[in-house]
């Protein structure tokens, strides 16, 4: 199912974007920890002890913002590039005339995207631990931090499942992006809307982002949410792979 040559090709065409997004993510994380440190210093100067711990600070200032948006942009771009764009341009025709099968193409690219996301969050995890150990020793609750990142990773995998499904289903980049970028962006906008005012609270039922809830995660009541995100991810990838295997390819 996994083709070594195609796997290499995936990394060759995506490592730059992966490096940039991961780099910015880690850089932003370092800045956030630095800002937290500054805040503590200022609080100490004015004689008030801050009650905000680093983990909650990161959860509020980082995970719901950059750490949500940047990986989302990565999967939207890479998912579309993986399948739909290759049909749109036609470069998949020759690939599928070699010994390569359709399943090899879809499985290999799916693996590439999933590993990219896991790798990205591994960098963020390790980067957070190292930076906090240097700048604010002892301030980070590693287990909580880990759980938060796993939660966000699950959300990203679910969103990437949607993007990948779109890429496998449609034959043009335009249509693939309409769904594969449109749905995650709409989810994001809805999640912002629902948090603006309590009267708009019911909007939260229309977005996947609700399933990432830092409070629930930290109080360990999050298992079913992970399960739903996991199901969405698996369903997205599986449906995409199955549809691609059965559809007409205009190559």
């Amino acid at each position: 199912m996994i083709n070594k040559t195609l796997f290499k090709q995936y990394w060759k065409s995506n490592w730059k974007l992966f490096a940039i997004i991961t780099g910015v993510l880690v850089l932003f994380l370092i800045m956030m920890i630095f800002a937290y440190e500054q805040m503590l210093d200022r609080a100490a100067e004015s004689g008030v002890a801050s009650t905000l711990d680093l983990t909650s600070f990161l959860s509020a200032a980082y995970l719901g913002g950059m750490c949500l948006l940047l990986p989302m942009v990565f999967t939207i771009v890479v998912s579309n590039k993986a399948i739909a764009s290759k049909i749109d341009k036609g470069s998949l025709g020759i690939v599928l005339s070699t010994k390569t099968t359709r399943n090899q193409v879809t499985f290999t690219n799916a693996l590439g995207i999933i590993l990219s996301l896991v790798g990205m969050f591994a960098f963020v995890f390790v980067g957070g631990i190292i930076t906090s150990a240097i700048m604010a020793p002892g301030a980070l609750v590693v287990l909580d931090y880990f759980e938060l990142l796993v939660g966000m990773l699950m959300l990203q995998l679910a969103l990437s499942g949607i993007s990948y499904f779109a890429s496998c289903t449609f034959n043009t980049s335009g249509r693939s992006l309409a769904l594969g970028a449109g749905i995650p962006i709409i989810f994001y906008v809805i999640s912002i809307l629902s948090s603006i005012d309590t009267s708009l609270d019911f909007f939260k039922y229309f977005t996947l982002m609700t399933l990432y809830n830092a409070t629930d995660i930290l109080t360990l009541t999050f298992v079913w949410q992970y399960l739903v995100l996991g199901v969405v991810a698996v369903a997205g990838y599986a449906a995409g792979i199955i549809i691609f295997n059965k559809k007409d390819l205009p190559l």
């Binding site: 090709q9 025709g93 020759i94 005339s97 070699t98 010994k99 390569t100 007409d248 390819l249 190559l251």
Partner: protein
């Protein structure tokens, strides 16, 4: 009996609005070069998609070596070399990288033939493919289609973008491949390359096969056409009343084209003897003429 390699059995794929292919059937024997002739949009590429297993038929099936290509595409067994009509490449690869990429996917270990082809077509593979001219891209596509010496070659408009010299080189290549025993489907709208390389031809029009013929039947057709110009108008006027199959005439130029079967040729010369002739020549039967009889109806003056 020669064995059938590619069998297109009554394939219909209806895209609506009279677009698609309808009851397309033909058989290509092992080692045969089969031309697939028709203008753009006639259904050549659609037919090829079904042979390659890229598309599912509405009805009918495409079979290679006895196996339905939708259920088990022949490329999986490394049988196919494919040159698509509109060639496209992954971003940001050099020619060399791309050839290696496709070679790896083909499981190719020996690149001697690839190097031969690169030399044969004079390709500089060091540059980025994106920056190459259309012709150069086409040549890179030719290299990847032929380099693993597959038993079956599916070539969709293979010489588009090539200059006349390279088109000639390509015809040479196809002849080499025939000697090697390859079975080739060559889709084209270039009569010359089909005429020079193919054993048999199918002509497709609006998604329907309108004719299938042996190239030799055209080259050695017993129906010949002769063009005659008379010196005197009176001869012209008299001649057109003769009991002959005159397919074309032009009074002011005193031109006449006569269709004559080989068996009637002596009788024809007896008739000609009575006239003063300025010149006389045979019009060679070509695939183009044959093709035009299906396509150029409105342009011809035939009755």
């Amino acid at each position: 009996m020669e064995s059938i390699c590619i069998n297109v059995k009554d394939i219909t794929k209806d895209y609506g609005n009279h677009k698609g292919i309808f009851n397309v059937s033909f058989e290509i024997k092992k080692g045969e070069i089969f031309g697939f002739l028709g203008p753009n949009g006639a259904g050549k590429t659609t037919t090829i998609r079904h042979i390659l297993g890229f598309s599912k038929t509405d009805s009918g099936e495409a079979i290679i070596d006895g196996i339905n290509t939708w259920e088990h595409p022949a490329n999986m067994d490394g049988k196919i070399g494919f040159l698509p009509g509109e060639i496209a490449f992954p971003d940001n690869m050099t020619g060399t990288e791309y050839i290696k990429f496709i070679g790896d996917l083909q499981g190719l270990t020996n690149y001697d033939r690839a190097d031969e082809l690169i030399k044969m077509f004079g390709i500089d593979t060091s540059g980025k493919i994106k920056k190459m001219s259309k012709g150069m891209k086409q040549k890179v596509g030719i290299v990847t289609a032929f380099m693993n010496q597959p038993p079956i070659l599916i070539l969709d408009e293979p010489t588009s973008g090539l200059d006349p010299l390279m088109q000639k080189q390509f015809i040479e290549l196809v002849k080499q491949e025939k000697k090697r025993g390859a079975t080739i489907l060559l889709s084209s709208h270039m009569f010359q390359e089909v005429e020079r390389t193919c054993d048999r031809v199918a002509i497709i029009r609006n998604g329907i096969i309108v004719s299938e013929l042996n190239i030799n039947d055209i080259k050695h057709n017993e129906n010949k056409r002769y063009k005659i110009e008379f010196i005197k108008s009176t001869d012209y006027d008299k001649f057109i009343l003769e009991d002959l199959n005159i397919s074309w005439k032009e009074a002011d130029k005193k031109h006449v084209v006569v269709n004559v079967k080989d068996e009637d040729v002596n009788e024809f010369f007896h008739v000609l003897n009575k006239y003063e002739i300025k010149y006389f020549s045979e019009i060679k039967n070509s695939l183009e003429d044959y093709f035009m009889s299906f396509y150029g109806e409105d342009k011809q003056n035939d009755k």
